[in-house]
């Protein structure tokens, strides 16, 4: 199976604190991988390293057979990685369709052609994705007037506009009401199964991870604690201890993950 993303020995330090310590993680083509861990375990920092928003102190990151360890974030986006953020990043003053049009694959646009107006194909694609994400009714509304859940959907759409082969979703479900969660889950599944888009997702809701992912990576204190199938991970003693402490916790774990 083709490896889309492979990070080896990633280390990221902030002064005396090592936020990510020697972590290996990989995602294969068409795979959905979950990244979980208690608060402060380094999930978002690892995401930032993988998407090059943050520099890494040690390690290598290979994306689609290209070493991106020293690249700038926009170059990483050109090679096919796209992401969403824990804190929503949409262009608030622009309409839904304008937000989408601005998120094209900029790697395909030369400097000269950037001095032309956006082509009809882009608008058509933006509208198609808006329909796919069930946002048609809000097409011409400003992003600032959308609810949190609708903005999550819009951000997902923006991440997809550049036709990436891997998408990093950082808590895509936080602040989203349950009916929208199902909707987002369904859309992600379609994208994965029909278009072969790989996903790496950070999520607090373990049920969501269980439903979508074939493999889960657990981080704790910046280090990889465990890796495996979701069911095995939930029975893993080290993981249970990391989440619930020495006394085990017992009972229903799902809701507390």
């Amino acid at each position: 199976m083709t490896r889309v993303l492979e990070a080896t020995g990633i280390v990221r330090r902030f002064g005396g604190l090592t936020a990510v310590n020697n972590v290996d993680i990989h995602v294969d083509a068409g795979e959905m991988v979950g990244l979980i861990g208690p608060n402060g375990s380094g999930k978002t920092t690892l995401f930032d390293c993988l998407s090059r928003v943050q520099t890494i102190d040690e390690g290598t990151i290979v994306l689609n057979q290209t070493d991106i360890s020293r690249m700038k974030p926009h170059q990483v986006a050109h090679i096919g990685l796209s992401r969403t953020f824990q804190v929503l990043r949409v262009y608030r003053d622009l309409t839904v369709v304008e937000n989408m049009e601005l998120s094209v694959q900029w790697g395909d646009i030369s400097l000269l052609s950037s001095f032309r107006r956006p082509d009809k194909e882009t608008t058509k694609r933006a509208n198609h994705l808006i329909d796919f994400l069930l946002l048609s009714r809000l097409r011409n509304e400003r992003a600032s007037s959308l609810s949190g859940g609708q903005r999550r959907l819009l951000e997902l759409g923006m991440a997809l506009m550049s036709e990436p082969n891997i998408v990093l979703l950082d808590e895509a479900m936080s602040g989203v009401n349950p009916s929208l969660v199902e909707q987002i889950k369904e859309r992600i599944t379609i994208l994965n199964q029909e278009q072969g888009v790989s996903f790496l997702l950070v999520e607090h809701d373990i049920r969501f991870v269980k439903d979508l992912c074939e493999r889960v990576v657990v981080l704790n204190y910046g280090e990889k604690l465990a890796e495996g199938a979701p069911d095995a991970i939930m029975e893993n003693d080290a993981v249970i201890e990391a989440y619930f402490g020495d006394d085990g916790g017992g009972g229903e774990h799902d809701a507390d993950f």
Binding site: H74, S82, L102, W106, S114, S162
Partner: protein
């Protein structure tokens, strides 16, 4: 309703704009269009041009440049050095057109270098760094020795044809308006808006933010440099204190904010409004000492009460009508109002008032 109102407003704006343009074009043919009037109007046009170029970085890209007048000064001094015979380094007098071209190119080069250093800063750090560069270049010019005549000043031989110069400036400003309008509609222009709205997001979505920021900063510097060069030629004399003036930056900021930050028409409307207001205040004897206080208050009031400027006010009226429409539609069905949190908040407030009664 919304589109009709918008179209009417656009039509009125366009009509007034055309009328004003015709007026400006035929003015030199009439007696009122004497040298003094044309001199003042040429200065106004240069101010509008400076505001338009400031708006490219400050408005479109969201990088508020507090030292923008530095490019005006550098452009002016380049032309001064080239066209005056008082510079020891270049004593021969250059013809006008090559001097203007070299001034624009030289300013662009300096802006590019400064942009590479300052455009990586954000928010107030960028603004203050630019203020620093403004002072730095002004003082460099003052102590440059033979090149700039030691800050004493440079004189350019007056061979100016006032009406012709007025037309040249008018055409240049019209080109700038078109450039700004066209740029806003291109992908490059859209990328600037993305940088303004969320720079990290824009970078993450594949926009080479550093390159685009430096490019627009360089263009903005070149335009203002050329305007400075044209001003130097018209003024026939320059020294560091009149070529590098903070008020030019303040005017560009104030005019653009008054008209509408980040809009194409904003700098034009704002600068014209400011100019008329200033003329009115000047002529009032009672306000002779205090007209600057009034201007200062005006800028404060605009930032507080009209953050989107006069253009925002025009758009706000459209919005008010929309809101009215949404409120009436709540009786027919809530759908239209559902998206507008403010409308819902207001409705909740009204309900509370009713209940407390």
């Amino acid at each position: 309703m919304k589109s009709t109102t918008k179209r009417v407003l656009q039509g009125v704006g366009l009509g007034l704009g055309c009328l004003l343009l015709v007026g400006l074009l035929v003015l030199p043919l009439f007696e009122r269009g004497n040298d003094s009037t044309l001199f003042t109007l040429t200065l106004l046009l240069a101010s509008i041009g400076t505001a338009i170029s400031w708006n490219l970085t400050g408005g479109f890209t969201g990088y508020v440049d507090f030292g923008h007048a530095v490019w005006f000064g550098i452009g002016a001094y380049t032309t001064g050095v080239l066209m005056s015979n008082e510079s020891d380094w270049i004593p021969q007098q250059w013809p006008l057109v090559p001097a203007l071209i070299v001034s624009a190119i030289f300013t662009a080069l300096v802006a590019n270098l400064v942009g590479r250093l300052t455009m990586r800063l954000s928010g107030p750090y960028f603004s203050i760094a630019m203020l620093g560069f403004f002072v730095f270049f002004r003082e460099v010019v003052r102590v440059m020795g033979g090149l700039t005549n030691r800050g004493v000043g440079l004189t350019i031989e007056p061979v100016i044809n006032r009406p012709l110069w007025y037309y040249v400036t008018l055409i240049f400003v019209l080109v700038l308006v078109y450039l700004s309008w066209w740029l806003r509609r291109t992908r490059f222009g859209a990328s600037l808006i993305a940088i303004r709205e969320d720079e990290i997001g824009a970078e993450m979505r594949g926009i080479d933010t550093t390159r685009n920021k430096v490019m627009i900063f360089t263009l903005s510097g070149a335009i203002t440099g050329l305007l400075g060069a044209m001003w130097a030629y018209q003024n026939t004399f320059l020294d560091p204190d009149i070529a590098f003036v903070e008020v030019r930056t303040i005017d560009a900021v104030m005019g653009t904010m008054l008209g509408g930050l980040g809009t194409v028409a904003g700098p034009i409307i704002g600068m014209a409004f400011l100019f008329v207001l200033r003329e009115l205040l000047w002529t009032q004897e009672s306000l002779l000492q205090t007209h600057l206080i009034v201007q200062g208050l005006l800028l404060g009031a605009v930032v507080i009460y009209l953050p989107k400027g006069l253009m925002g006010l025009v758009r706000g009226e459209v919005k008010l009508l929309d809101r009215f429409r949404k409120r009436t539609s709540t009786f027919e069905g809530m759908e239209a109002a559902v998206l507008d949190d403010e409308v819902l908040d207001e409705a909740a407030g009204e309900l509370e008032t009713e209940v407390s009664r």
